[in-house]
């Protein structure tokens, strides 16, 4: 007597049993639909991860920085105030570094709007003092308050501007877009499951005659299911591989283009090392989910027959 596991192996392994279902699977649309969905999913996932990483990088870069702006029309008095403020701020606890932006650097930044003679002209350009704080969070808040208190007696016209204030909407936008991208990944997973369920139902309906014959000859639901599942898994794996390779090619291409952009905003967007682990894992996860969906669908369909 042949044991049940041996029977299952016999019916589901080997080229002869492959023929129990008609060949020509890659001619059908299923692998290509899965390829497109995996392609879009991996792209959405990469975008979500990269934008999230970019938002975090930007936040880290600006959270601990602020600028003191000295708006004094008289150049000599402005320089004197700047020096006093610098000397006062550098002694405060929580301040890591203080740097007065050189006039030449300011003139260069204003050159596109004011022309090349901006520094020479008698235009009252404010003095800027960049302050790096040593700690973030509550310590940064305390240091910021201390700086405001230290600057106010020197000149009430000086303004203390934390960088996080003006970059916050950009970070929020980038983070929102990142979450939307990850939500798209979830929706794609659901859509892929639906495609697999429809494919499994269609395949079951197409081969109903063969299934009935196999049942009448003593095949178990497990034997029939494994035939279909192996076929579906093969189709999905093919589609997933094609979709992943195409997506990785696009990501590498876009990454190279982003690398050529020198802007701080674009420069901060990039895939961390773990992103390259998640991306190939995603199709594998999809294959596993599809496998379970196909199994449940086929089991339910087979259960309706005697």
């Amino acid at each position: 007597m042949v044991g049940a596991p041996a029977i299952d192996r016999a019916i589901t392994a080997g080229s002869a049993n492959d023929r129990l279902l008609p060949q020509g699977r890659l001619a059908g649309p299923m692998p290509w639909i899965v390829a497109i969905m995996i392609f879009l999913t991996v792209l959405a996932c990469a975008a979500g991860i990269a934008l999230g990483e970019g938002a975090a990088t930007m936040r880290d870069a600006v959270t601990n920085r602020l600028t003191v702006q000295v708006t004094e029309a008289d150049a000599a008095r402005r320089d004197a105030l700047t020096n006093r403020i610098r000397a006062s701020v550098v002694r405060l606890p929580g301040v890591a570094a203080v740097r007065v932006a050189p006039r030449a650097e300011l003139a260069r930044q204003l050159e596109p709007w004011l022309g090349g003679d901006a520094a020479a002209a008698e235009i009252p350009i404010p003095a800027l003092i960049d302050v790096d704080l040593s700690d973030g969070g509550a310590a940064a808040d305390r240091a910021r308050d201390a700086i405001v208190r230290a600057v106010a007696p020197i000149t009430p016209d000086a303004r203390v501007e934390p960088h996080a204030t003006f970059i916050a909407p950009v970070i929020a936008l980038v983070r929102t877009v990142g979450w939307i991208a990850l939500a798209i990944v979830g929706l794609m997973a659901v859509a892929t499951c639906c495609v697999v369920v429809l494919a499994a139902r269609g395949s079951h309906a197409t081969h109903r005659g063969t299934i009935e014959i196999m049942h009448m000859l003593g095949a178990t639901d497990g034997q029939v299911m494994r035939l279909f599942q192996r076929r579906l898994t093969r189709d999905i794996s093919f589609g997933a591989a094609v979709g992943l390779l195409a997506a990785v090619a696009v990501i590498l291409s876009v990454g190279r283009s982003l690398g050529l952009l020198a802007g701080d905003l674009m420069g901060s967007i990039g895939l961390p090392w773990w992103g390259w682990v998640v991306m190939p894992a995603l199709p594998l996860l999809f294959i596993a989910v599809a496998w379970v969906a196909a199994r449940i669908t086929l089991h339910s369909a087979l259960n309706r027959s005697l």
Partner: protein, 241 residues
């Protein structure tokens, strides 16, 4: 002799229609040969469906191989089906498999390896005269050839019960005789055979065969021999062909 099949007040209806089979009570003895006759629409195919576990009855009790199969869990049915060979009226060959693979299918399902099944499949194809058509797909076979493939597939696993629905309907007289001889040989090896047929020429070809006749879904059993078969030998007045 022991009963391999026992029907007790079995009825079958499809959907909400009238009963196709009513009040069937009979026993089939192990190792016996039965012809099932009746007019078209009498319920022969429905009765065979109950025998090869394609349908459950609407009422009554059926014992197959000594086990109640009416209340049996669905998951246990495949094990019983492997003990039954079936020749379907419409052959039901797998269209994309060759004649060889169709015949080999029951053995593959039962877990026989390709190496082990080659010899019996070749022998069976030789027996039904289809050695040179082994690689042909069903669509390229004539009706008679398809029927022979279906018969070879039904008997290759040497079933304990063979159920055949009009197995000689598409073959010539000579092939019909060969097939009946094959069934007799199986019967001598202990297989219980039930053949539904319209062909009265067949009825006289098998010694000791018994006849079951269906009339409008009811079994004609005036002597009660089908319901209560004698324990050692058929009753002298039991219908015999």
């Amino acid at each position: 002799m022991t009963a391999i099949v026992q029907f007790e007040n079995v009825g079958l209806r499809y959907g909400f229609g009238a009963e196709t089979l009513s009040d069937l009570s009979f026993s089939l003895e192990q190792g016996s040969f039965y012809f099932l006759t009746g007019a078209s629409g009498a319920g022969k195919t429905s009765l065979l469906k109950l025998l090869y576990l394609s349908q459950r009855p609407s009422r009554g009790a059926i014992h197959l191989f000594g086990t109640d199969i009416v209340t049996m869990a669905r998951t246990r049915l495949p094990g019983f089906r492997r003990r039954i060979g079936v020749v379907f009226q419409d052959f039901r060959l797998v269209p994309h498999l060759s004649a060889y693979d169709n015949v080999a299918l029951p053995l593959r399902i039962a877990g026989v390896s390709d190496a082990q099944l080659k010899m019996p499949v070749d022998e069976m194809l030789h027996w039904v005269g289809l050695t040179d058509r082994a690689n042909a797909l069903p669509a390229t076979l004539s009706g008679g050839e398809q029927q022979r493939v279906a018969i070879a597939r039904a008997v290759i696993g040497r079933p304990e019960l063979l159920v055949a629905d009009e197995p000689t309907g598409n073959v010539d007289m000579e092939m019909a005789s060969r097939l009946i001889t094959l069934f007799e040989a199986l019967n001598k090896l202990g297989t219980t055979i039930v053949v539904a047929t319209h062909d009265f020429n067949l009825l006289g070809k098998v010694a000791n065969a018994r006849m079951m006749r269906l009339d409008a879904g009811r079994l004609v059993d005036p002597t009660g021999a089908l319901r209560y078969p004698p324990r050692t030998a058929p009753a002298p007045d039991a219908p015999r062909w």
